[in-house]
Symmetry: C2
């Protein structure tokens, strides 16, 4: 008996337990997730990333509230929040004010908040996050906001695998932090200048705009072959040629200013993806990344089951004493022999 | 012919080329590294990590200068710097002043600076960094400073694998950033409050001190079995029981204040590791992590070589259409069959 059935019936406790199983790499969790998998693929996955201090959590909070505001219950969206950011209030680093502001969300049955205990997670941050997002998707959450800190490779990779990636900047964080954006601008579908009521917002937006023009990030993402000149352009090709220019939006998340425009922009990006086949392309990339991660873990586990731990430890000792290099060790171990 | 021989002779260009080969995962690089491996194990690996804005690069810069200041050339240390931090001036995000201040280091033949192009590196950040550190070690650099941003899982893991890990904090970075320290305090051998000339330095140090007392991070690192009461304590056991309390040091790196005390503390930590067997323990953990990473990559490569890409792509398509789950796909693929 897995947790799949009660989760489908809307049991929040069962969902919370499954997420813990997934995070701890417990086999039962994988079995339940496998049962739930046919129900996935409906949610809009939105990655939200940026340096510490840009106000990601407040923005995620406000977006979630916006989606919950719809009067008509039948069209109101259910919202999942996955916080992978060690500096996020959702993960426990909140000052009191943030926690109070989150109370309304936490008490709403249409919202499910999950923080990742990212430090030292054994199974790998990316694969645990992928599983958690799938469980929420299967449980019927329409929008899943994935908050990560945009200063780490693993965390940026997680945000990048969403359908829509929002990269947040803020004025006045100093040159050190501005420098980060060079790396993460390339993954942005939408750019937000948060804390837009602060001095320096014009300069921040200008800097973003010139970086965008410099980098042409969009062309890299939607690269395609040009149709031969003589060939008439098909509908599909024309749609494929549509290019998304990441808009830059000003938001003051603490006041809720600019949140509606941001939500509309998110919706436009979704439509763009659906019209151009980008939605399916991103699904495939994301699921391939998940498959590869699981394959890798399974191959390593199978190998360890076949090889005596004593041989492995002896080999390691020979590396420590510099008798053989790690490279030589791997070649020997894969041939099943001692070194 | 690999690059190993010229590197041993001190050819910097050959070293630079090898580091590029390692970063790009080129097989020649692995062969050269394998040849160089018996010469590794002499360098003191020092991880330096902290949130963006704490002044890591300036501190790394000043430590490197300090090690180069020794009058007597025979005892003067050769210094390698590996920057894995996307916000580091070493990786290209510098404002002009930083670059000017680094000129003296860049022109010194006893210093080798290498930045990692961390975004999108194919072979994985951790394994590339491990290889680069080994190459510098074999090339005769006595101290290798590894600078990472302490806000990402992968980057923190890299710093943690050094012999000595320095975690940097700074006053006035706001609550968002303070929250990060909860995660990285546990890996600190030395704690630095940088920018100690700024207001709020007392509060930052107090907060660090109480977090340290709360977390007892040292006990987790040097956990050991208590000897039975009747048994006389051996020399080794007594040494093992010595516990390292991470000191908190105030530094103003921009002015070079506190750098000498920091370098002395680094040296004390090295002695502590050597006396307690911690040096060897950390070597083993680090090399095991490297071995595991290479094994994993090799197992995946071998598997892909054995399986037709068509089967893999068909399986992926069935996942995308939700006919099978990734978990079922992995089980089928590992049994070599179609799904």
């Amino acid at each position: 008996m897995t947790l799949a059935a009660p989760i489908i019936e809307g049991n929040r406790l069962a969902l919370a337990r499954l997420l813990t199983q997934i995070e701890n790499g417990i086999p039962d969790g994988q079995a339940a997730l496998s049962e739930l998998f046919p129900r996935t693929g409906r949610a809009h996955l939105i990655g939200v990333t940026g340096a510490p201090g840009t106000g990601k959590s407040t923005l995620v909070n406000q977006l979630a509230r916006f989606y919950r505001r719809e009067e008509d219950e039948s069209t109101r969206k259910r919202v999942g929040i996955v916080a992978v950011d060690p500096s996020s209030p959702f993960t426990g680093g909140a000052i009191l004010g943030d926690r109070v502001r989150m109370q309304d969300l936490a008490g709403d049955p249409g919202v499910f908040i999950r923080s990742m205990a990212s430090r030292g997670s054994l199974g790998g941050l990316a694969s645990a996050t992928a599983g958690i997002v799938e469980a929420l998707d299967a449980a019927g959450y329409d929008v899943i906001l994935i908050e990560t800190v945009g200063a780490g490779q693993a965390e940026v990779d997680i945000a990048r695998l969403a359908h829509t990636t929002i990269v947040i900047e803020a004025p006045g964080l100093g040159d050190d932090i501005q420098a980060i954006k060079a790396g993460i601008l390339e993954i942005a579908d939408l750019l937000v200048v948060n804390k837009a009521d602060r001095p320096g917002v014009d300069a921040t937006e200008r800097a973003l705009r010139s970086s965008l023009q410099l980098g042409h990030p969009v062309e890299r993402v939607f690269r395609h072959h040009r149709p031969a000149a003589a060939e008439p352009e098909s509908e599909t090709t024309r749609a494929e040629r549509k290019i998304w220019s990441p808009p830059i939006l000003r938001v003051t998340a603490t006041e809720g200013i600019g949140i509606q425009a941001l939500a509309e922009s998110v919706q436009q990006h979704r439509q763009f993806l659906e019209e151009t086949g980008g939605w399916q392309r991103r699904e495939r990339v994301r699921l391939q990344s998940e498959l590869d991660g699981m394959l890798q873990a399974a191959l390593v586990a199978r190998w360890h089951a076949q090889v005596q731990d004593q041989l492995y430890q002896q080999t390691l000792s020979k590396i420590v004493s510099r008798e053989i290099s790690p490279w030589q060790a791997v070649k020997a171990l894969l041939n099943g022999g001692a070194v």
